[in-house]
C-alpha cells in the first residue's frame, strides 16, 4: 500500500471514530519524515476515563501481522457500523492519548524498519 493510501485510510478510521462523539471542532495534523510519520488528531468532545482506557487498549494492542495484512485493508474504508480502533492499533508503532482543555489529543506514530523513535520523541515505556 502506498504511503498516501495508508495515511488516507488511517485518517478515515480515526476521524470516523472522533466524529461519532459529535465534536464541534476536530483538528488533524500530519508530520512526515523519510522513515516514519506522526499523525495527531484533536477534538473538543467529552470523553470518559473508561472510554480513554479502552482507546489506549485498542490502539496499543499487540501487533498482529496476520490480521493487519488482511483485515487491515478495512481500515478507514468500510465505515458502516461502529469505528474500530483495533484495526489502527495493529498497524501503528505507538499511540498516545492525552486530555487537552476540552477533549483529547491522539498521537499516532508510524514507521518502517529504519524508524528512529527518538526523532519523534516517543515516550519511554515503563
Amino acid at each position: 500500500m502506498r504511503r498516501k493510501d495508508l495515511i488516507t485510510h488511517l485518517i478515515g478510521e480515526i476521524s470516523s471514530y472522533v466524529l461519532e462523539g459529535d465534536p464541534m471542532r476536530m483538528v488533524i495534523s500530519l508530520h512526515q519524515e523519510e522513515d516514519g510519520l506522526h499523525l495527531s488528531v484533536m477534538d473538543d468532545a467529552e470523553h470518559s476515563d473508561d472510554e480513554i482506557e479502552q482507546m489506549e487498549k485498542d490502539l496499543n494492542s499487540q501487533k498482529r501481522p496476520e490480521l493487519a495484512g488482511y483485515y487491515g485493508a478495512m481500515t478507514g474504508h468500510d465505515l458502516l457500523g461502529a469505528s474500530r480502533l483495533n484495526l489502527l492499533g495493529w498497524q501503528v508503532k505507538h499511540t498516545d492519548i492525552t486530555r487537552i482543555d476540552k477533549g483529547i489529543k491522539i498521537d499516532f506514530w508510524l514507521g518502517g524498519d529504519r524508524f528512529d523513535s527518538r526523532q519523534f520523541s516517543i515516550p519511554e515505556q515503563d
Binding site: R64, E66, G69, Y70, A73, M74, G81
Partner: protein, 410 residues
C-alpha cells in the same frame, strides 16, 4: 497449544478404533479422489479414512501456523477447526499444499511476509477440490495431470490475496466466511475455463446416512470438553465473559479470544457446537462428514464472530425459507445451510433480529443455486452465498442511512 494436538490425536485414535489399519490405506486412496461438493469422505473411503484425513489436514494447518510464529487466537482457532471439518469432505493434504505455495508466492510478490497472508492461505484451502478436479477429473493425460493440478493450485493461491481484500470491501465484514466469497468468485472463472475445455463438472453427491452413536456423540463430547476447559481457564470468570461475548456484533475481524477472553471463547465454542447438534437432532439430520465438518467449523468461528445470540435469527430465517418453499429440512443442502448460514451472524449482531431472519431467508434461496455456478469446487459454498447476501444488505442499509437517517445540515 496443547488442545489441537490432542484433538488431532483423538481423531486418529477414533479412526483406528473404528476401521483399524484400513483407515490408513483409505486415507491414502482419498488423496486421488474427486473432492468437489458434496463428496462425503465417510462414504467414499470410510469413516476411519475420513477421520485420519481430517487429522492430517488439521495438522498441516497447525504446523503452518506454528512454523510461521503466528499466535493461536480467534482466526487461527477458527482456521484449524474449519480445516479439520472440511478434511471430512473435500480437503486433503495433497490438494491444499499447492494453495499454500501460491499464497506464499503472492506474499513475496507483494513484498510482505507469509505471516501477513497466513489467514488467506489457511482459509484459501477451500479451493483444494480445484486441484483435485484438474488432476483427477479433467481427463488430462496421466503424465501431466498431477503437475497441471499443482500448477493450477499455485496459480489459484497466488490470486487469492488480491481478491480476498476486494471481497471484504464488498460486504464490509458482515460475512464471516470471506474466503468463501473469494473462492466462489474465483471458482466462477475456473469452472468456466474447465467447462470450456470440455470437462462437464457434473454434480456429485455422496452423502453418508448410516446412523452411528459414536458419530452423533463426537461433537457433543468435544463441546462439553471445551466448556469444561473454558471454566477451568477462566477460574470462575468465564461465565461472565461468555455473556460478554453474546453482546459482540461479531463483524470481521472480531477475535473473541483477544477482545474478551480465552475461557469465554471456549465456552462459547462448546455452546455453539451443542446448539448446532441439537438443531440437527431436532430436524432428524445425519451426522456424517459434511454435517460434522460444518459443526466443527461453526465451533471454530465461535472464537471469531459467531455466538448464540447473533446466530439464531439467521438459522431461523433459513428454516422459515425451507418451510415456505417446501424444501425438506433433511435434504443435504438445507442441513448444511442451517449450520453454515451463521456466516451471516454479524448481520443479526449489527442490525437486529428481523434483518437477521431476512438474511437467513435470502441465504437459503441463494445457496441452493450458487453451488452449480461454481462447479462445486469452492467448498465454502455457504460463504459464497452469504457474501452475496451480506453485500446486498450492506448496500441497501448504507444507501438508506446515508440518505434518510438525518439531514446533513440544518
Amino acid at each position: 497449544m496443547l488442545f489441537f494436538p490432542l484433538l488431532i490425536a483423538g481423531f486418529i485414535i477414533m479412526a483406528v478404533i473404528i476401521d483399524g489399519g484400513a483407515a490408513l490405506s483409505g486415507f491414502l486412496r482419498l488423496q486421488i479422489k474427486p473432492a468437489r461438493l458434496i463428496n462425503d469422505f465417510f462414504m467414499t473411503e470410510g469413516v476411519g479414512a475420513a477421520l485420519v484425513n481430517s487429522a492430517a489436514v488439521g495438522l498441516t494447518g497447525f504446523l503452518v501456523i506454528v512454523i510461521n510464529g503466528t499466535r493461536l487466537s480467534g482466526p487461527t482457532y477458527a482456521a484449524i477447526f474449519t480445516m479439520m471439518g472440511f478434511g471430512l469432505f473435500g480437503k486433503t493434504p495433497l490438494n491444499i499444499l499447492p494453495i499454500f505455495a501460491g499464497v506464499f508466492f503472492a506474499s513475496r510478490f507483494a513484498l510482505k511476509t507469509f505471516k501477513e497472508y497466513i489467514i488467506i492461505a489457511l482459509f484459501g484451502t477451500a479451493l483444494g477440490p480445484l486441484v483435485s478436479a484438474i488432476a483427477f477429473e479433467a481427463g488430462l493425460p496421466a503424465a501431466i495431470a498431477i503437475p497441471a493440478g499443482i500448477a493450477g493450485g499455485v496459480l489459484t493461491g497466488f490470486f487469492l490475496p488480491a481478491i480476498a481484500v476486494s471481497m471484504l470491501h464488498l460486504h464490509q465484514g458482515y460475512n464471516l466466511y470471506n474466503m468463501g466469497l473469494t473462492c466462489g468468485f474465483f471458482s466462477l472463472f475456473a469452472a468456466s475455463l474447465l467447462k470450456a475445455g470440455g470437462s462437464s463438472l457434473a454434480a456429485d453427491s455422496y452423502w453418508y446416512i448410516e446412523p452411528s452413536l459414536a458419530l452423533t456423540l463426537l461433537i457433543p463430547v468435544i463441546s462439553v470438553l471445551l466448556i469444561i476447559v473454558g471454566f477451568i481457564d477462566g477460574r470462575g470468570g468465564s461465565l461472565k465473559t461468555f455473556v460478554k461475548i453474546q453482546r459482540q456484533v461479531g463483524r470481521l475481524p472480531s477475535d473473541f479470544i483477544d477482545l474478551v477472553s480465552v475461557g469465554g471463547s471456549f465456552i462459547n465454542s462448546g455452546m455453539v457446537g451443542l446448539f448446532g447438534t441439537v438443531i440437527i437432532l431436532i430436524i432428524g439430520g445425519d451426522f456424517n462428514g459434511p454435517v460434522i465438518g460444518g459443526l466443527l467449523t461453526i465451533m471454530g468461528f465461535a472464537a471469531f464472530g459467531t455466538h448464540l445470540k447473533n446466530s439464531w435469527p439467521i438459522v431461523a430465517g433459513v428454516i422459515i425459507a425451507a418451510l415456505v418453499f417446501s424444501m425438506p429440512l433433511t435434504s443435504p443442502g438445507v442441513q448444511l445451510a442451517i449450520i453454515f448460514c451463521t456466516t451471516l451472524a454479524p448481520v443479526a449482531g449489527q442490525f437486529g433480529i428481523f434483518p437477521g431472519i431476512l438474511a437467513g431467508f435470502l441465504h437459503m434461496l441463494m445457496v441452493s443455486q450458487t453451488g452449480s455456478w461454481q462447479g462445486g469446487m469452492n467448498l465454502y459454498n455457504n460463504g459464497f452465498s452469504g457474501g452475496l447476501v451480506a453485500a446486498l444488505i450492506v448496500a441497501v442499509v448504507q444507501w438508506y442511512r446515508s440518505n434518510r437517517k438525518e439531514k446533513k445540515f440544518k
